[in-house]
Symmetry: C2
Subunit: 281 residues, 2 copies
């Protein structure tokens, strides 16, 4: 694989594109408008600054060299004409993604592998729109890709095992730890583990068993983890936690109600707003 195209330059898309370029690939970053591309340029510049500060070896010109390997375009046909791998990181809306794959299937060479970074959809939800079931799978990155360097790889039953292997190798080549899922699983591995832990923490609060500080202290001390579940909630953002909980069973809905009344309605949305379960001011 030589030419990598990333569709969508939001939080995750820009990190994927930048990390891939940082590891030496020529990367085309696509977004829908010149305005979106201008925002992308700012994101890339910020990422370069972050890498210079946080990533070993990035300060010696490597962070800047990555910028030079990034081409930005709002022309989808141009973006994918010569792509070996297209990583799709457009907003998490099923209809939008289906439209994108329908266009993409017509524009990209048949050899091009498509990989979705979707967090909430399964590749099976999208495969029929790609025009290349054997060349399609999910390649899922975590936020702060330079720290949390997992790449969860999950095919459909139609994915060619050779394509899966090629994507595993690509993920390794950009510094990721590839995590191969043998079957499709909503939430991949990370959220399959994290959601039950966070639900259990929410239950303790709803039931009035213990306060967030106490719950987090037990988890940190008992397991050696750097953050307890309520600290994780604050990082994820309480709005996201609310939407996920509101869609759950009765216990989760009770937690959603608590979140809304005690936090969202007071503008306490987590780290991003300076206050959630904890104050960050």
């Amino acid at each position: 694989m030589k030419h990598i195209t990333v569709l969508g330059t939001g939080v995750l898309g820009s990190q994927i594109a930048y990390q891939t370029a940082y590891r030496g690939y020529d990367v085309t970053a696509y977004d829908v408008s010149d305005q979106a591309l201008e925002a992308a340029r700012e994101r890339f510049a910020k990422l370069a600054a972050t890498y210079r500060a946080e990533v070993d070896g990035a300060a010696d010109g490597a962070a800047d060299a990555a910028i030079g390997r990034l081409a930005l375009t709002a022309d989808l046909a141009d973006a994918v004409a010569d792509a070996d791998l297209v990583i799709e990181a457009v907003p998490e809306q099923l209809e939008l993604k289906r439209e994108v794959y329908t266009k993409l299937g017509a524009l990209a060479p048949s050899r091009t592998i498509f990989a979705t970074n979707s967090s909430t959809l399964l590749p099976s939800d999208l495969v029929e729109f790609t025009g290349r079931p054997a060349n399609f799978l999910a390649l899922h990155f975590a936020n702060q890709i330079w720290v949390h360097n997992t790449a969860e790889i999950m095919g459909t039953p139609a994915t060619d095992p050779a394509v899966t292997r090629a994507v595993v190798e690509f993920a390794e080549s950009i510094g990721m730890v590839p995590i191969e899922l043998k079957k499709e699983k909503s939430g991949y591995v990370l959220n399959s583990l994290l959601v039950p832990l966070l639900n259990a923490a929410g239950d303790l609060l709803v039931e009035g068993i213990a306060e967030p500080e106490a719950v987090d202290a037990v988890w940190r001390i008992g397991t050696g983890a750097p953050m307890g579940p309520f600290q994780i909630f604050d990082v994820v953002g309480l709005t996201t936690a609310y939407h996920i909980s509101a869609a759950g069973g009765p216990q989760q809905q009770a937690f959603a109600k608590l979140l809304k009344e005690r936090y969202l309605d007071q503008g306490k949305l987590g780290v991003a707003t300076g206050e959630g379960f904890y104050s960050y001011r």
Copy 2:
């Protein structure tokens, strides 16, 4: 509180007694026979060696001084005659604990506070046998008390709040982080969080989604935790994991079956036997 008595000198009981003595209290350690007390002496000597090696400041005579503050006895009446606090850490059998509290209630002064270290029982299961509902609660320590220094404190509706406060202060005075539970909860905070995480990991294995190494890597990288769930299973011990899973729902029972067939039947019981999900040889 000046005189502390610990009933039971098994893994946890000996750690509680030693840590309490290490922090300057006179501690009486009770067990049922001279043979059990001989084993306790060995445990205390090993703990002193561990503290010298692992606890800051313990090497300068402090670890040995703790031994000097520990009195051992197989006479229950003597053990509790002058106790301000009795911490009960006898085996996790309901009938045995009820017998112990019935004897204890008759032997100890009425001012003496009783605290159970039980992991699996609620204080409400025991309170009626203590003869002192207001002076009884749970005080639950974690294994490797010198590292995992939480003390979960959980009363019944009859516990006097002043007694809870006194036990919180005692826990702090022996170097614990006191975690106050406002209501009774089976599994306290730690296991209320840990069990759902471990169940979710078991589900991923049962469903054939991903291998233990992959699951653990995602968890470590994604959350910064030092160990993934299958590493935790190996530390807890696969026999314990089997018994807990076998008593659960259909998914947990499927995991228990997998544990038995792939691990227990091969003598792979976790870290203690040198092999479990991982090899430690």
